[in-house]
């Protein structure tokens, strides 16, 4: 598909990317809700339903990821997650100070580099730390019934797995809060959200 053209805008997020992002967002929110119910934080669906929905959402998300990994590699988009330390300092300075004084954003988004250096680091941490914690513990948790067949019950306890999974969930919750807030830091509070829906980012003009 040819990249469409629109003057004053850049096409940042392709259709699949947007589909992936929003369905993943919905699934993660749903899994936080059902997961903390299983954890015993509150009662909503009831324990049994919460477990069933949580499991169903997990399988759905895994399927989504299977397609997404394929997409990342066929499109070469995986390069967006290669970390860089360039301008990291400038980004920190911007969020801590510049943003209040109306300083220009130190990073100019392009279709080839759609994440600022801090974003890259955050997403990489999510991928390489939080994800393995959640999915590793989650799959052990899900397949607890089969531990005995593989002798896993001799060296692993459900408590350890459940606590690891909970720790991962808290990390995801913190990420979620920060992520949602940072969507408001565009040139208008809803600019980033709009981009994520339409795919088009208005090219930054100097105020």
């Amino acid at each position: 598909m040819n990249t469409p053209v629109r003057p004053g805008h850049i096409y940042l997020y392709k259709r699949y990317e947007r589909f992936w992002h929003w369905s993943q967002a919905a699934l993660i929110i749903f899994m936080l809700i059902t997961g903390f119910e299983v954890h015993g934080s509150y009662e909503n669906f009831g324990f049994r339903r919460a477990v069933e929905y949580h499991t169903l959402a997990a399988w759905t998300l895994l399927t989504l990821w299977a397609f997404t990994i394929f997409w990342q590699f066929t499109t070469g988009e995986w390069r967006q997650y290669i970390p860089t330390y360039k301008k990291v300092g400038a980004m920190v300075h911007y969020y801590a100070y510049g943003i209040f004084t109306g300083a220009p954003h130190p990073f100019q988004k392009t279709a080839r580099k759609k994440h600022n250096p801090l974003q890259r680091l955050a997403y990489l941490a999510l991928l390489s730390l939080v994800s393995p914690i959640i999915w590793g513990s989650g799959l052990f948790y899900l397949f607890y019934a089969y531990w005995k067949d593989f002798g896993i019950d001799r060296w692993l306890t459900l408590e350890a797995v459940a606590l690891t999974h909970t720790a991962g969930a808290f990390m995801m919750l913190v990420f979620f809060i920060a992520h949602v807030y940072l969507t408001t830091t565009g040139h208008t509070p809803l600019a980033h959200i709009k981009t994520m829906i339409t795919g088009w980012e208005e090219e930054e003009t100097q105020h």
């Binding site: 299983v38 954890h39 015993g40 009662e43 009831g46 324990f47 049994r48 477990v51 069933e52 499991t55 169903l56 399988w59 969020y95 943003i99 209040f100 004084t101 109306g102 899900l142 397949f143 607890y144 019934a145 089969y146 005995k148 306890t157 459900l158 408590e159 459940a162 606590l163 909970t166 720790a167 969930a169 808290f170 919750l173 913190v174 809060i177 920060a178 807030y181 408001t184």
Partner: protein
């Protein structure tokens, strides 16, 4: 003419209908009323009047010549079980229970439930075949009754019962009972097992007279309109040996279902028919329920409550208030709001309840018992019996129990529970004379144990594994009943339950981090808004 035609038509119609009606008999019409291949009413040995139980037994043994010998090898006859693990002698003859306490010196009453005739003291002849009572298990009429006080004999002549009540009970027609023997029904087994400890539902909590004709919700297997299992459908009996006993319980049978009749197996366990992986589960459940069978007994989920009826079951029996008289100095009997005994000057205080959630304990099938003369620690609640087994023990599962609590008389010097002579019409009997020292003296003398002359009361408890009143699967205990803050398994060691168990430090750290993140973005956002407002004001 017209009338004649009508009559012919009617006749034809009748002729057509009649064979049609005969041609489609229901199956029930063709089946004999009884299941047995023998009509005992036609046997000349039974066509006579019987003066006593032993006379009937003699007649039975003329054909069933090995039956008495077989019965004599069962607990129903000996009331004694040798525990294969400890070698200790258990059984009703030796153990103490938390209700009427001990059979010793009280045989005349207790033996109303003995499968025999005449056991009233140590002199009972356990080798005399005619002493075996066939009818208590094989009465097909529902009229055979044995009353406390008669040492296991049925009612030979009309008499007043209970003593002093003014109510009359008729003599049992032994000829009719003998001619109508049958395989044991639920009512036969129930005539003793529903009424343990002297009243309907008193002892077990999962066995009472409501199981004579239960509805499906009460017991999915015994459902009178459905599967209609009798007791021996599960407690499969061979040569009068009844399978499945509290003294030898399969607490954690594993493996697939096995055909009935295998000698090496306990056919009375759930798994003997259902196997140990009985739940069909979707991928979404990933064998989660079947994994629960590694930890829980089937009964733990499938008997959500016991005593699920208005009969209820006794929760406690406090002997320490026995012999207390009413304001007029006469024995007092008080009923609770449901008409069950609440206080009896003979016996003390009682508490009853229905629809009870069991208490859950690890159990490997072995109950260790306090027998007469065992040392106790009066400073602590005495466990009359103790369910053995613990977490991660291969043969143990978490089981549901009725825990019956109470207070019993004990000897503060010898530190053991006392045997009291309770039943009887003699001057030493507690229920006749209301004199503890006399009753204890007589009981201990019969038991052959020394008594210091002092007595006190100690807190006791007895655990009864719950295994009957299996509910339909739709009524099974739901996940949240255990996986939640108000978990049924709260306090049971060795299990970690999602929804109940947490690590407080992890929760504190996690929620603090989330809260800090939220505060951080709120502050950051507020500062941005303030700066923006000031800028807009300056610009204007």
């Amino acid at each position: 003419m017209k009338l004649k035609r009508i009559m012919i038509a009617a006749g034809l119609l009748a002729a057509l209908c009649a064979p049609a009606a005969q041609a489609t008999p229901t199956l029930g019409d063709k089946l004999p009323a009884r299941k047995s291949t023998a009509d005992h009413g036609k046997f000349k040995e039974l066509q006579r009047d019987f003066k006593s139980g032993p006379e009937v037994t003699k007649a039975c043994l003329e054909c069933h010549n090995d039956a008495a010998e077989q019965v004599m090898h069962t607990k129903h006859w000996t009331w004694e079980v040798v525990d294969p693990k400890s070698g200790r002698k258990l059984g009703k003859k030796n153990i103490i229970n938390n209700f009427c306490t001990s059979t010793i010196s009280n045989e005349k009453d207790c033996m109303a439930c003995h499968a025999g005739y005449g056991w009233q003291d140590k002199s009972f002849d356990f080798a005399k075949q005619e002493n075996v009572d066939c009818l208590i298990c094989h009465d097909g009429t529902g009229t055979y009754r044995k009353l406390p006080g008669d040492a296991g004999h049925p009612i030979y002549e009309r008499k007043e019962f209970p003593h002093g009540s003014g109510k009359l009970v008729e003599a049992t027609d032994l000829k009719k009972v003998a001619q109508n023997v049958a395989l044991p029904s639920r009512a036969n087994c129930g005539s003793c097992h529903f009424f343990g400890a002297g009243g309907d539902g008193t002892k077990h909590g999962d066995l009472d007279s409501s199981l004579r004709n239960p509805a499906k919700y009460l017991d999915v297997h015994m459902d009178a309109k459905g599967l209609d299992f009798t007791c021996v459908s599960c407690h499969k009996t061979s040569a009068h040996q009844v399978a499945g006993s509290r003294y030898d319980l399969s607490a954690a049978r594993t493996g697939p279902a096995r055909p009935r009749g295998k000698a090496d197996d306990n056919p009375a366990s759930c798994q003997s028919c259902h196997g140990d992986k009985p739940h069909k589960e979707s991928l979404l459940h990933a064998e989660r329920l079947n994994a629960h069978t590694e930890t829980l007994a089937c009964q733990t989920c499938h008997i959500p409550e016991y005593a699920r009826n208005g009969i209820g079951t006794e929760q406690s029996w406090d002997w320490s208030t026995a012999t207390k008289m009413g304001p007029d100095g006469k024995p007092l009997f008080v009923k609770d709001s449901a008409g069950r005994r609440a206080f009896d000057s003979k016996k003390g205080d009682f508490a009853w309840d229905s629809w009870l959630i069991p208490e859950y304990r690890w159990f490997n099938g072995k109950l260790s018992y306090k027998t007469v003369g065992d040392t106790i620690d009066p400073a602590r609640t005495v466990e009359i019996n103790h369910p053995e087994g613990g977490p991660r023990e291969p043969g143990a599962r978490i089981w549901p129990f009725k825990v019956h609590r109470g207070k019993q008389a004990y000897d503060p010097e010898h530190k053991y529970l006392l045997v009291a002579h309770t039943a009887g019409e003699d001057h030493a009997a507690l229920w006749h004379n209301f004199d503890w020292p006399k009753a204890i003296e007589a009981g201990m003398r019969t038991a052959g144990l020394p008594w210091s002359g002092k007595y006190g009361f100690v807190a006791t408890e007895m655990s009864w594994p719950i295994t009957h009143m299996v509910a339909p699967k739709s009524e099974a205990v739901g996940c949240a009943q255990c996986h939640g803050a108000e978990s049924r398994l709260k306090g049971v060691a060795g299990v970690w339950l999602p929804g109940l168990h947490k690590n407080d430090w992890l929760d504190l750290a996690g929620w603090s981090a989330a809260l800090l993140a939220l505060l951080g973005v709120l502050i950051h956002g507020s500062v941005r808004i303030c700066v923006l407002c000031r800028k807009t004001r300056k610009a204007s």
